[in-house]
Symmetry: C2
Subunit: 454 residues, 2 copies
């Protein structure tokens, strides 16, 4: 085995040329999208009214394990990829653990996270289709920033419905998106029917991701040459994010690294789904026995306490129904600081894998997460995003277990982004005002009551 | 010549093991530090009361061209280096220029800039000397962050005197420093004699870098096992920053890249001095004919409109006198957004090289700088720090000249950091409220009147 450097960078030649489509190897597939009006599976034609055609094709592709990444997208990736696979030597030393810890770090681009991997692809396909406009929503802001960057590159006009409370909490995140030429509309807004309805019902609301999705879809449907793009949850987003897993696997093979545990945070599930893709494919085919752990906030526990059911992806109940672990589209997420994990549902692929026992899920409380994040930052230098720190927390827990048992496990986790735009959360942790929130069973029941009956 | 990738990363084995000491090859040396009380050159012993002993030795070293980087520091560097040398393919295409543009990008670490290169070294030597405490100042915040990161790693207590107006403008920058365990004191403060004096004279002042330096030095002198560390200007800081130039040169040689022009922004001069070091050494020895251009803000034009004279490094007039280009320690810098370039003086090495005709200097106005920064961000993805964007602006100017003349020059510039913590400046550019400021001759005369008579 080669001597392992602090950071493994693949060369351009070693960068993956294919995305990994887990659905082509899964023994059972997630349930299809269901049209809420007809209760029948959605057709490609129906989906193409909202999404770009090539993306719909990818969304419905259950046969091709390897899907070629177009050269134009690979060139875009070369601007900020490959991302480093980092050996956490300093953290290992601090924890005094026999475990080897690795993290795949996606935060070195300006959007600050892995979201750019799918933005680059989605905007390319929009351009290819001759579209001129896109709409989307953003919560924490990583997706909106990534999409604004890709739209600036491909010169496509972009409207971002940003959760109102995020606009207010993160003026600088808004400023980045605007610097890249994106237009921000705080959601809920008066620019859409669904926004006006929500505002009339809840005049003081700070908005939610589910509501911003509804507004962005409405505008996309009404605007010529325009489609809606989504930064997580959907199968084609996980497909694009498989670049993370493919790079990681190539780097592991190059250096003879064999992970025992792979850990990622889960909100909509795209980074975790992308990171695990080729490893999970191998596990399904009986080629490894890796433990996969998805980590969610205790405040929004869709996998650990949600129901596996058909549900809407948005608050306005305008999307197709998806079979997934969900807290109900009417579940009101608490103001947990990890904005990117504040979503009622979960990727149908990740949900199905979880349901079938291929992965484990854990929920962690945010003060513990920030404690781990601060320890990590001081040891390893890099300041993690609150979302990523959920994975980090469990990776540290596992490394400390190894210390107790003496096992020399290889632990790999996804560090999906940086915390540069989340400093108000760090401030509340630093000054001791951060609190934890765990929804009561009654809170959950209120959310479940909003599940559609089908 | 090999095909040039978008990003050149050296391997760990290719990382430089030596810093480059320009003074060992300069035909004439900068004037020595002068003790303002005796008007005699400062001794190593005098300097060691303020600075770590090993750093004083490096500061006074005029004979060793290559100074070995201790293994511990190289291991620290491996956590975030090598930094990429990026081929700006997308910017070249946008500008439609025959020029080849490269930039060495130092912004991928959490401190967001090149400052960590010297922080890692200085804190290592402090630890080695058995010190337990350090003090410093920070303006824009990059240095304070970098030092807090290094102090967290080496477990040294740190007090950062942060320019009061920066603390107010950049609460999140303060939060990052505190997350790494650094203590922030807004300067001027009541914690020092010099602070109390400045506050009594100017009760409403927002502070200045020169004033924060005075406070940090005073505390270092009065505290046991404590020294003061500085993030720019001094020769040993340029020495540490030569890692930038050494990596760049190694990457250029590996890929057969021969720069015609090398450009950097200059505030105190450390990143520029570090970037050019080995190239300038070769130029002095007649081995190349590269044009070197230092770029400063028109609002604080120490090279282009300053005097080459002995001056204090701080407002409180407590430092040794240094021979440098200066606007006078009493010059009041305007609130230009590029905080890191808001300093009255200039590195004695850079000053001497400029004085002897080895490099060119240009002053640029900030609205033009932000225009270039926005163009760059949209083309290349990366959001530059306002400081770095000064270099970028001139690189783009030179590339456009090539477009007119048809020359295929190779232009290389230093992109010293990211703009994540400077979004309020981008906001004022985006909304059209940013203005330019050029000091009048009268303004400059007021500054020159504060120069010491020696």
């Amino acid at each position: 085995m080669a001597n392992i450097p602090y950071k493994i960078y693949l060369s351009e030649e070693e960068m993956p040329k294919y995305w990994y489509n887990m659905k082509a190897v899964m023994k059972e597939l997630p349930g299809p999208f269901i049209n809420p009006a007809t209760h029948k599976p959605c057709t490609a034609e129906e989906l193409s009214q909202v999404f770009c055609s090539d993306l719909v094709e990818q969304e419905l592709n259950t046969t091709d394990q390897h899907i070629e990444i177009p050269e134009e997208i690979r060139n875009f990736y070369k601007m900020y990829r490959p991302s480093p696979l980092v050996r956490a030597y300093c953290l290992e030393k601090l924890l005094d653990t026999p475990a080897e810890i690795y993290y795949k770090f996606e935060g070195t681009n300006t959007s600050g996270s892995h979201k750019l991997n799918s933005a680059a692809a989605q905007v390319y396909y929009a351009k290819k289709q001759g579209l001129t406009n896109l709409t989307t929503e953003t919560g924490a802001g990583q997706w909106g920033t990534a999409l604004a960057m890709a739209c600036a590159y491909y010169q496509i006009a972009l409207i971002v419905y940003m959760v109102k409370v995020s606009v207010e909490q993160k003026p600088y995140r808004k400023a980045v998106i605007e610097t890249y030429g994106g237009e921000i509309i705080p959601s809920p807004s008066n620019t859409t029917e669904v926004g006006r309805k929500i505002l009339a019902e809840n005049p003081g609301t700070g908005g939610s991701l589910g509501c911003a999705i509804s507004e962005a879809i409405e505008v996309a449907m009404k605007t010529e040459n325009c489609r809606y793009v989504l930064g997580s949850v959907l199968d084609h987003v996980l497909l694009h994010q498989s670049i993370i897993g493919e790079e990681t696997k190539t780097a592991c093979e190059k250096y003879g690294i064999q992970p025992d545990i792979i850990i990622g945070c889960v909100g909509g599930g795209s980074n975790f789904g992308g990171l695990i893709a080729p490893f999970m494919g191998d596990k399904i085919m009986g080629r490894n026995n890796i433990d996969f752990i998805g980590v969610e906030p205790a405040s929004c526990p869709s996998l650990t306490r949600g129901k596996y059911a058909y549900d809407f992806g948005d608050t306005g109940k305008t999307t197709p129904l998806m079979k997934m672990y969900t807290l109900g589209s009417g579940f009101l997420p608490s103001p947990n600081h990890a904005g990117g994990l504040r979503y009622h549902g979960m990727s149908p692929i990740v949900s199905k894998l979880y349901h079938d026992g291929y992965l484990e899920a854990r929920a962690v409380e945010q003060t513990k997460v920030f404690e781990a994040a601060t320890t990590f930052a001081r040891a390893e230098g890099t300041l993690p995003a609150p979302e990523s720190a959920h994975a980090l927390k469990v990776a540290m827990d596992e490394a400390l277990k190894c210390k107790e048992t003496g096992e020399k496990k290889t632990i790999l986790f996804g560090l999906t982004g940086t915390g540069y735009f989340d400093m108000s959360a760090y401030m509340s942790y630093n000054d001791g005002t951060m609190t934890d929130y765990i929804p009561s069973d009654e809170d959950l029941e209120k959310g479940f009551a909003t599940l559609p009956k089908i």
